[in-house]
Symmetry: C2
Subunit: 405 residues, 2 copies
């Protein structure tokens, strides 16, 4: 990597670092005249220390392989993007990937203890530490996480592990209105319940899933909520009961629960099919906005209005617990008018999220796709400061130019 970057720096050739290429915002997409550095084959485990709960890996290691490698020691690497079976740790770090368990366990940034990075001049820097706590010097590790390859190329990462939680109990509930679902979500906060997973699907999405797989979902429901508890011991059953009570009091029309791991996976199946079910209906444009939890009902209410206004179908699903939603616009790939309408709906959704105090991207990254919203979200001063930092790290502008910042 040093050698390639050295040559690229000498001839001012743009470099695009790339893991599995599974990113959803175009961060790893090649640009005119660039060199793509694929990190896919740098996939070695460098160290695993179960006592210190640390694993040190090269960037091309697949996310799920980390979890598999540490399982027999009772440990776990929590960040679980939907792409965990094929996305790489390097890409996860570059985009600060999230996932379903973030609501309780945080995002990729919370699990990166240190990095080895090749800088724009071909030199190498090692950041971070081996200790849980430590405040010596500026937090360079945190700056590289989520920088989408614009500040340097990650060549290894030291990751923090956690004890593997107990098998989860699962609860699924149908609600007659978005307002009722909103009450349920806030009811959990008020009851001090902290679900290990809290997913939401709207009527359009659950109908699409049921049309496809005939899962006996309640097709009259406006919203489906799915939650899990992984508290140890008897606390798990208690937490599931508490969630059931909150959902019922909020007006759920149907609630099902299980403490069995496998049955729980079956209940989760509907959620896992959300995107492919929508994709069956046409070409799909997947968005990734997040709003403050309190504004989630507003976003839920706005989506059908936008869909109607632009004449497209929008299904919504996502992480109700942290307000990160994935409105998915279904359009006709062979119809230019439909494609244009989908693009307008996409922008409307981002604009709506920003108006609600939200962000243009909750976990997928800025890449090329969200670049035009950056200044509107962050303000000119913050974007200016970010670009100054970018210039400090990459004065020639050869690292993934035109992306992220």
């Amino acid at each position: 990597v040093r050698a390639i970057v050295g040559v690229a720096a000498r001839y001012r050739i743009p470099i695009v670092p790339r893991g599995a290429g599974s990113g959803l915002s175009g961060g790893a997409a090649a640009i005119e005249g660039c060199v793509v550095i694929s990190l896919e084959r740098m996939n070695q485990f460098l160290e695993f220390d179960p006592r210190d709960r640390i694993v040190h890996v090269q960037p091309g290691v697949i996310n799920a392989d980390v979890t598999d490698a540490v399982r027999s020691d009772g440990l776990w690497y929590p960040p679980d993007p939907a792409s965990s079976a094929f996305s790489t740790i390097g890409g996860n770090i570059a985009t600060n990937a999230g996932g379903l368990c973030c609501v309780k366990y945080g995002v990729t940034a919370d699990y990166v203890m240190g990095l080895e990075v090749v800088l724009a001049d071909g030199s190498v820097v090692v950041t971070g530490r081996r200790t849980v706590k430590g405040v010596a010097g500026l937090n360079l590790t945190g700056l590289f996480v989520g920088s989408e390859g614009t500040l340097g190329i990650i060549t290894s990462a030291r990751l923090k592990l956690r004890p593997r939680p107990a098998p989860a109990g699962t609860i699924v509930a149908f609600f007659p209105s978005t307002a009722a679902a909103g009450r349920a979500i806030f009811g959990l906060t008020a009851a001090r319940v902290e679900p290990a997973l809290l997913e939401i699907m709207d009527h359009t999405t659950l109908t699409a899933v049921d049309d496809w797989k005939r899962m006996d979902l309640d097709r009259d429901a406006a919203v489906l909520l799915l939650a899990q508890s992984d508290v140890s011991g008897s606390g798990r059953a208690e937490e599931i009961i508490a969630m059931s009570r909150v959902f019922t009091e909020a007006g759920a029309t149907y609630v099902a629960e299980t403490l069995d791991d496998e049955e729980g996976e079956q209940l989760l199946a509907a959620r896992r099919l959300a995107y492919p079910a929508l994709e069956r209906l046409g070409a799909a444009m997947l968005d990734d906005v997040a709003v403050p939890r309190s504004r989630l009902p507003d976003l839920l209410a706005a989506i059908p209005v936008i869909a109607d206004d632009r004449g497209v179908l929008v299904g919504m699903f996502g992480q109700a617990g942290d307000g990160n939603m994935h409105p998915t616009i279904v359009f006709d790939r062979n119809d230019d008018e439909s494609y244009r309408a989908a693009g307008l709906a996409f922008d409307d959704i981002v604009t709506c999220a920003l108006k609600l105090g939200g962000t243009a991207t909750g976990e997928h990254g800025v890449g090329l796709l969200k670049h035009r919203f950056l200044e509107r979200e962050l303000g000119a001063a913050a974007v200016g400061l970010q670009r100054a930092v970018k210039r400090t790290f990459d004065p020639l502008g050869i690292l993934n130019p035109g992306k992220a910042v």
Copy 2:
């Protein structure tokens, strides 16, 4: 703040931002010819949103006042440095303060969602967001946290809150050797127990406390461990029982436990008295090193050797769960030789921690006190990159010069 910084920039006058002045590494100490900007009276709550679990405060708000302000809504601001009754949020953020509950709940950095910062040219930047997740742009918030006033002056902070956990159950155990205590600490990991607090005191410290307060501590013990569980429901009692079993199997000579909140506070009293008890014996020099958990027994074993070698008394206490130790060197203030020996022991301890793969500062900050260890810990490349970032933010070098970076 903008006006003062503007004038200081024009005349190139160094600025030292200061909260309560309770820092332990000299980060807020005045330097020759500087202007000290005290943020103490910027102590307003700007916003509290219990639904989004966010509080927005000025930098002079006292740490404990945040916790008090949100308590009636069932919420909690976890970072709890020992100075929580008098240190300010601004100072906590500047040093990325830790505390006793970090072992389960993380440090200050984990709770800062966004900042308003006056930059070195007198302009203002707002960083971060209102959403739980969000990956738009570089993580400037995380860069300011822990930068000890060298990149800008924090004028407000948006903090993340958590549901207040259940009242804790508490367990205290005495061990005949550091090896037995080490087995106990790792036994918790192996048993997948995640204590909400896990504190350690060595023989010197517990004897000093008992000499002072006659608390019937086991004066023959080499090590005292204190742990808490705040899991909800019946899980708490189960976790306390699991810890008790681990401690007994590791060779504890005495174990006491309680599920009662007040009794738990009484058991914790010995730990809270650790530093003042050592301070009674002479002048005290408080260190703050952290080592990987697995090397904690090595550090525990090395301290008496260093103390003996330098002819000083060293008492050790700290966060066993995350390897952050506070070896406290007791010396005679009126004896130059004793003061010199204490300084040498202080350096020996830091050097030992670094050799064990640790850090010179786990939570107190670099300030002036640890500046000379920075390059040895981080390497020349990382320090060089940090200084480049510092120059980008502060080209005139007027923000807290000579500190942290």
